[in-house]
Symmetry: C2
Subunit: 170 residues, 2 copies
C-alpha cells in the first residue's frame, strides 16, 4: 500500500494525542502523590514569556484539528481554550481524537495539491496540501506535544521518551 | 503528484536541520553577546537526568541518518558523538544534511513495506517502512529538535516557533 495523505496525518495525530494523554495522566498522578496543586503544572512554562502547558495542549489540538479539517474540507468545530484542569485537558484531547477519527481516508487522500489557506496572527498563509501537512501541520503538532512533554519533564514528572513515542507500531 | 516515502522523510528532515542550524547560530550569538561560555548552553538540560543540548542534536541527527539510510538500504556512516562546540554541532548538522541530500527519491520511494530492524538499547525493533517512518523516525527527529529548541528557549535565547518552523513552504 502506498503512503497517503491520510496515513501521514490522521493516524499520526491520533498516536501523538494518545501518548500525550498518557503523559498527562502521569502528570496528574505525580501532582497528587507529591501534593502539588495541579494548576502549578498546568500553568508551568519553560520561560516567563513562553506559553504554559495548557496552551501547548490546546495549540497541538488546534493544529491537528485544523490540518485534518482543512485537508478533508470539512467544517472544524470551534473550541474555547478554557481548559484549566487535567480532566479538562483530557477532555480536549478526547474530542480532538474523536474529530480525527470521524474523518475517513477518502476525504483526505488525494489532497496533495489542494489549496489550503489559513491566517496565523496577521499573516495569510497559502499552501498546497502536501506542503501544509509536511512543513506546517506535522511540525506544529510535534512541536507543541514535545513542548508539553518538556514542561512536565522539567517539572519533575517521571516520564521518558518512550512515553512520548508510545507503543511501537509495526 | 502523490505523497511518497521520500517526500515524507528526506526533505522534512532537511528542513528540520536547516532550522535547527539557524537556531544554534542564534544561540552562539547569544552566548557571545552575553559573555556566556558556550559550553554552558551546549551542556544545558531541562532536568538533571535529561540529555543536554549536544546530545539532542546528535540523536536527532542519528535518527534522520538512520531513517533515510535504512529506508534507502544504503550504508550509514558511523559518527562519533564528540561535538562540544557550536561549530562542531554545525558541522554535525552539515554532514547530516549532506548524507540526506545524497539519497535519491527512487531509493526511498516504494519502501512502505520494507522490513526495517534496529536495536534500541536492549530491544530489537522490527517495523515495516511506513510504520517506522511515521511512528518512530519522524516523531524522534521532531522530539529531539524541539527539545534542543526548548533547552535554548529555557536558557534565554531569543527564539520563537517561527525559528523552529522556518520559511513557510508552499
Amino acid at each position: 500500500m502506498s503512503l497517503s495523505m491520510y496515513q501521514a496525518s490522521v493516524p499520526v495525530f491520533i498516536r501523538t494525542f494518545d501518548n500525550l494523554s498518557a503523559i498527562l495522566h502521569k502528570a496528574a498522578a505525580y501532582a497528587e502523590a507529591r501534593k502539588i496543586d495541579p494548576s502549578v503544572l498546568i500553568n508551568a512554562r519553560l520561560y516567563p514569556d513562553m506559553l504554559p502547558l495548557s496552551r501547548q495542549v490546546q495549540i497541538a489540538s488546534d493544529n491537528a484539528k485544523g490540518a485534518a479539517g482543512r485537508l478533508a474540507q470539512v467544517e472544524r468545530p470551534a473550541w474555547d481554550d478554557n481548559e484549566t484542569t487535567f480532566d479538562e485537558l483530557q477532555a480536549r484531547i478526547a474530542k480532538t481524537i474523536a474529530f480525527l477519527k470521524a474523518i475517513k481516508p477518502e476525504q483526505i487522500d488525494g489532497s496533495e495539491e489542494r489549496a489550503i489557506s489559513l491566517k496565523v496572527g496577521p499573516n495569510d498563509l497559502n499552501f498546497q496540501g502536501q506542503a501544509y501537512l509536511l512543513g506546517f501541520a506535522l511540525p506544529n503538532v510535534f512541536f507543541h506535544a514535545t513542548t508539553a512533554y518538556a514542561i512536565l519533564r522539567h517539572s519533575g514528572v517521571d516520564i521518558g521518551k518512550l512515553d512520548f513515542l508510545g507503543a511501537m507500531p509495526t
